[in-house]
Amino acid sequence: MEDEKRSDSLQSSFYASHGKFRGIFSWIFSTDHKRIGLLYLCSILSFFIVGVTLGLLMRLELFAPGQTIMNAGTYNSLFSLHGIVMIFLFIIPAINASFGNFFLPLQIGARDVAFPRINLLSWYFYMTAGILAIATLFAPGGPPDAGWTFYTPYSIITTTSISLAAFAAFIVGFSSILTGLNFITTIHRLRAPGMKWFRMPLFVWSIYATSWVQILATPVLAITLLMLIFERMFGVGFFDPSKGGDPLMFQHLFWIYSHPAVYVMILPAMGVISEIIPVFSRRTIFGYKAIAFSSMSIAGFGYVVWGHHMFTSGMSETARWLFSLLTFLVAIPSGIKVFNWVATLYRGSITLGTPLLYSLSFIFLFSIGGLSGLMNAAVATNVHIHDTYFIVAHFHYVMFGGAGFAFFAALHYWFPKMTGRLYDETTAKIGWLTVFVGFNVLYFPMFILGWRGMPRRYFDYPLEFTNANMISTIGSWILATGIMIMLVNLVFSSMRGRNAGNNPWGGTTLEWQVSSPPPLHNFREIPEISRGPYDFS
């Protein structure tokens, strides 16, 4: 009986309408935003697994002092590729391109994004970049070893395939820009009648803010990487002191993009949390406008704080305190969000589902990451902890503990809508617990290591750091096990799970009003919107 109902809902869903192509071509030639969202999701998860593997190997090398499983050069390549894959191919597009594509049109009551073909093109750019990045592993000269930041002058001198890796990042930039302009146009032009700006779900707001950052920051990275490639190919000398250039200019240009990019990673994550918390505490979101505006102001502040990556690189005293001050200001909109989420939970009737567990861990881990960020932002402390494991711990807490956990939360929250099935709740909770414990065992010791002076990016360390490194490596195994439990559960449930129905969580946003999985054109008739997104009364 249940199976019949399910095959009915599948036949009327977008999975059944494959257009004029069959098999895999019905996916890679599809312009349906839901199919493209799933294409992105699968490719992003694949690159995530590549990145996790590289990370595990690095941790394995650091299990004991001295050379254990690889030499220094290999280790340099591993941390470079780990960074490139995780940042450019996983976390920047993670929530934005996958769930953004799938749910943005649904949440604003549209049938598709504004430019469906450009949408598909952006996925092709993304895949090209991904393949190029992986190809550096086998390219002559070996994989890049200059870190994901490609700092000059080393990135100019080294014989490894920096140009290819930089070109991959250049291409993925195109994909990011195209997604951004597509989403902005979609939000401006395709909202359902009555969907005023302040009736949009907060996930849409966060995607909107993210898209502006993508559009206004990514081109700067593109031109910087292009100059790096020219530097290596023709020796133009912009960053080469022997020719009158200045390596610091590379750092400035690089961080003018790459700091805002941090907000490309975290803003959609905050949007996901703002969706999940009201649904699982059955209360309307506290401070809707404050959260919406704080997204926009985080995007705005993001542009003017890049200098805090360069406190020790050589910068005037004025520039230092100014960048420090501005960095502290970012904590205000971030704090606004955290307080509003907690206020939403207060006196709600809370269901402790897996998406909420991931969201609560997000708040906890993001707060640790954010507060340690303030320690980095203070010029005096920064000099002490610059380029140590403290920084590594800090950005893993905000990026993985923040954006990564929100990605997992979104994966569970929207799983029933995307597949029409429920995942196994108990296994999901075991997975969450393992991931959460593993994460903290892996990254918390790094705070201590960094504070005690262990520099990042070395394959070896003095004996006194042995214990903490060992604990950290054990944490990496726990974390990997947790991720495996989570993914296996989801894959298995997508084939065998119980029928989810249209609205298993009792959500109030528009995507829960259509069947699961959604039909090809999303809505039989475009809905008229007459109230806010989180009305639980």
């Binding site: 599809s30 146009t185 401006h188 100059m227 000398g237 240009l253």
Partner: protein, 208 residues
């Protein structure tokens, strides 16, 4: 494919002219920022090597630069003609205006080619031995010249290709007085190429 038909249409099933144009403008912002990175470098190095930028800029042929400026601005005019002709329903005139635009664009590239060639024969290019004997500021100036006009030239080439595509669409009646957003967006792109040059010209030729 069915979903494809909904693509450039809005909720009511009409063509979304404003939406398409908005997308194009957003794309143009990204282009400005792309060149912005280069202009930033130019500004920094100009303040660092004031004298040497003067000397190097003096070696450029202002006449050729001025001719190229006129060529490119005129091409923007013919581009505007092409768009307004389509809007009035005169596709034939639009095709000829586009043809002129393409000619001007290629003329610009030809002149640019001879300018580059003149400098390269003098051994003034990144990596050349002669370059190393120059003061550092001049090396940076010439490198900036090649990279900035080079990337601009690449944009001219892409623009020409896009305009050829537009001509093709005009002839095949894919662009009409009711549906002219493609040629209008192509025109916007062409004007961007023009406006970037309007900044490049004084930076490398006039500010001696």
């Amino acid at each position: 494919m069915e979903s494809e038909r909904t693509g450039h249409l809005n909720q009511e099933g009409q063509r979304d002219y404003t939406g398409s144009k908005m997308g194009m403008w957003l794309f143009l912002y990204t282009e400005f920022l792309l060149f912005g990175g280069l202009f930033l470098l130019y500004a920094v190095y100009r303040t660092r090597y004031v004298e040497q930028f003067h000397t190097a800029a003096a070696s450029f042929d202002t006449g050729l630069g001025a001719i190229n400026t006129v060529v490119l601005i005129t091409s923007s005019l013919t581009m505007a003609f092409a768009v307004s002709a389509v809007r009035k329903g005169d596709r034939r005139r639009s095709v000829s205006a586009l043809f002129l635009t393409i000619l001007f664009g290629m003329g610009f590239l030809v002149i640019k080619f001879f300018e580059w060639k003149a400098k390269i024969t003098l051994g003034l290019f990144p990596g050349a031995v002669e370059m190393f004997q120059l003061p550092q500021g001049e090396v940076i100036f010439y490198s900036l010249y090649y990279v900035m006009t080079g990337i601009h030239g690449l944009h001219v080439m892409i623009g020409v290709l896009v305009l050829v595509g537009m001509m093709f669409l005009l002839v095949r009646k894919k662009i009409t007085e009711k549906d002219f957003i493609k040629i209008e967006n192509a025109g916007l792109y062409w004007h961007l190429v023009d406006i970037v040059w309007i900044y490049l010209f004084p930076f490398f030729y006039l500010l001696t």
